[in-house]
């Protein structure tokens, strides 16, 4: 149990990282980016590509994943999401699903449908503490995630850009009145959302095999973590991600790893039905 709890927290750190990206897109622009999991997947492939082509460790390839996915996000924003800012409409959801499908099939056409794994000599080793063993790869992933999350939080709190983003996420209508909801903020926020997905992808691929379908496993986690943390609460999404990781690991131990996501889906349904504003989010007039 303790083992499951600890590895759940470690895995959950990465979930929290890309969930924060999802949460920024939702909080600042009210965009439910159904393709967010695909952005993580692209980040994973970018790092994997660096590994297979040049033997670079995925963690060293983080800047590459960061740049690739942030740029891709900015392009997607300009081509598609720009039209839906501020309105979480059904058309927006359909458009995002289409983007997810396009990214997923493109990846299949380029890399093939099968899974690829990175084999580094330190990543498969374990740290033993009494009866508990923790993978070095997961420990490193968690440490990097926490570092990124703290950086993002600091940027959000200290810089004027971050303050603007937090203000918009907090109350989009008021922010619009003050003129904060500008294209520049939106496009950088969306790129930032993608950058977090990219970093998470590079980190994740160091211990988790990448396949074109992996995005569709990750998107629900981002969604659940965001709802758990409170829609629009950016820091809450990180906590939500950790809770997701723990629920998954617990399910693997107590039931079966094949169905580790099913209780997550149940949690999301219950939350949506009874607490649509999340655990930590404030009730807004929606």
């Amino acid at each position: 149990m303790l083992q499951a709890l600890l590895s759940g927290i470690l895995v959950g750190g990465v979930y929290g990282l890309f969930s924060m990206g999802f949460s920024i897109a939702f909080g600042v622009m009210r965009i439910v980016n159904f393709a967010h999991g695909e952005l993580v997947m692209i980040g994973m492939f970018a790092a994997f590509f660096a590994y297979s082509a040049a033997g670079v460790d995925p963690l060293v390839a983080i800047p590459l994943a960061f740049v690739v996915v942030a740029a891709l996000s900015a392009v997607l924003y300009l081509l598609v999401y720009r039209r839906f800012v501020g309105r979480a409409t059904l058309q927006q959801l359909l458009a995002a699903i289409a983007v997810a499908l396009i990214l997923q099939t493109s990846a299949t056409l380029i890399f093939g449908p099968s899974a690829h794994a990175v084999r580094s000599n330190w990543g498969s080793q374990y740290l033993l503490i009494g009866p508990i063993f923790l993978s070095y790869a997961q420990l490193a992933a968690f440490a990097i995630s926490v570092a990124c999350v703290l950086t993002v939080e600091a940027v959000l709190r200290k810089t004027s850009w971050g303050k603007a983003i937090r203000a918009v996420a907090d109350d989009p209508e008021a922010a619009q009145l003050v003129g904060l909801n500008s294209q520049v903020i939106n496009i950088t926020a969306f790129a930032c959302s993608g950058a977090l997905a990219g970093i998470a992808g590079a980190v994740l691929v160091s211990y988790y095999p990448v396949s074109p379908h992996v995005g569709f496993l990750l998107m629900p986690i981002a969604l659940i973590a965001t709802v758990l943390g409170g829609l629009g609460s950016i820091g809450g999404a990180f906590v939500g991600g950790i809770i997701c990781g723990v629920i998954q690991q617990m399910t693997s131990v107590l039931w079966t790893s094949a169905l580790q996501d099913v209780p997550l889906y149940g949690v999301l349904l219950l939350l949506l039905a009874f607490r649509p504003y999340g655990l930590f989010g404030r009730v807004s007039a929606h």
């Binding site: 439910v32 598609v80 983007v99 449908p113």
Partner: protein, 348 residues
């Protein structure tokens, strides 16, 4: 969408206008053509098979259109009902020897029951939250179907015990019979859609789609109306699922519950015109041309998944460029020409 492709001018009830007669004529001619297709000299199994696929597409689109187009509830989880129809019929036949002629209705009833449960939970939610909840339910079904392989056949799926041509169990070697059955289903679903667009229940449902609070203030039981519409839509989807199973003789979790399936169910209505009776038919026909074209392309190029890529691109283009679909576009043009503003509304 006020509905059908009838003329803009008000027509006294019971007296169809000339435009309606003309459309009726076209409709009868089209149905006759499809029904008599096997008699034509150039017809072969390949061509008939394509038409059957198109008809199944159309039936699925019509079923989804009931809840999404007329009821305004964007369900992304219709794969669940499709899968229940297909798996339900198949399991009843393989394990209990129940003929699909009966099994189809049992599976549809099961899908309806599941729809009521899903609706009871998710209809507390509106708009995008309802849509997200249905995605998650669909994902859960896919995982469960893959895991419980003793029941479902796991990843490889379920294959129907094939007995050759055996009309008693809805099996034929040749596709002609499926052509007639699926044509009948499409016609029946068309009638259901027309009834919904004009009838009492359908008016209440459209009122709920346009404005839930106003519908409540008009005395409509919004929750019950949405539940009944979902039940109807789910049962129709399950019947189309049975057709799919009997025609292809197999079903697997990805085909039943996967994301691309959920999108394929939506495309006919979205392309043709959400909330219209003719939309899914036009959209389904276009879909099948698209799918055949990409199939040829992918086999030439030796690439798999080009069709899904094409679906994604088409979906994106429709949402961005033509959110009202083909019939909605024609209707707004026609209203503009006759000097009337287009009626607001649609599937939002």
């Amino acid at each position: 969408m006020a509905g059908t492709i009838d003329s803009g001018a008000p027509v006294p009830a019971g007296l169809p206008g000339r435009a309606e007669f003309r459309q009726l004529g076209y409709g009868v001619a089209l149905v006759a053509l499809v029904a008599c297709l096997p008699l034509l000299p150039f017809a072969n199994s390949y061509l008939i098979g394509i038409v059957v696929r198109a008809l199944i597409f159309i039936a699925l689109g019509q079923a989804w259109n009931v809840i999404a187009g007329i009821g305004g509830q964007l369900s992304l989880g219709h794969g669940v009902f499709f899968g229940l129809g297909a798996y339900g019929t198949g399991l009843l036949f393989n394990d209990f020897g129940i003929t699909p002629w009966v099994g189809a209705w049992l599976a549809a009833a099961l899908a309806g029951a599941v729809a009521v449960v899903i609706g009871a939970i998710t209809f507390r939610l509106r708009g995008i939250y309802f849509a997200l909840a249905t995605v998650v339910i669909s994902l859960a079904f896919e995982k469960l179907a893959r895991f419980y392989f003793a029941l479902t056949g796991g990843d490889t799926g379920l294959a129907v015990n094939f007995r050759g041509t055996a009309p008693a169990v809805m099996q034929w070697r040749e596709p002609e019979a499926f052509l007639w059955i699926s044509l009948a289903v499409v016609l029946a679903f068309y009638a259901v859609t027309r009834w919904l667009l004009r009838g009492n229940f359908g008016l209440a449902l459209q009122a709920v789609r346009d404005d839930e609070e106003a519908a409540t203030s008009a005395g409509v039981n919004v929750y019950r109306t949405k539940l009944l519409a979902l039940l109807l839509s789910a049962a129709m989807t399950a019947l189309a699922g049975t057709l799919h199973l009997q025609f292809y003789l197999s079903i697997d979790p990805g085909t039943a519950f996967g994301l691309s399936q959920a999108i394929q169910i939506q495309l006919p209505a979205l392309i043709g015109g959400l909330g219209t009776a003719g939309g899914p038919i036009i959209g389904g026909a276009i879909m099948i041309l698209l799918s055949e074209g990409t199939n040829v392309a992918s086999s030439r190029l030796g690439l798999d998944g080009v069709d899904v890529l094409a679906y994604g691109i088409v979906l994106l283009l429709i949402v961005l460029k033509a959110p009202v679909g083909i019939l909605g576009y024609i209707k707004s043009k026609r209203l503009q020409r006759s000097g009337r503003a287009a009626p607001a509304g649609g599937g939002d």
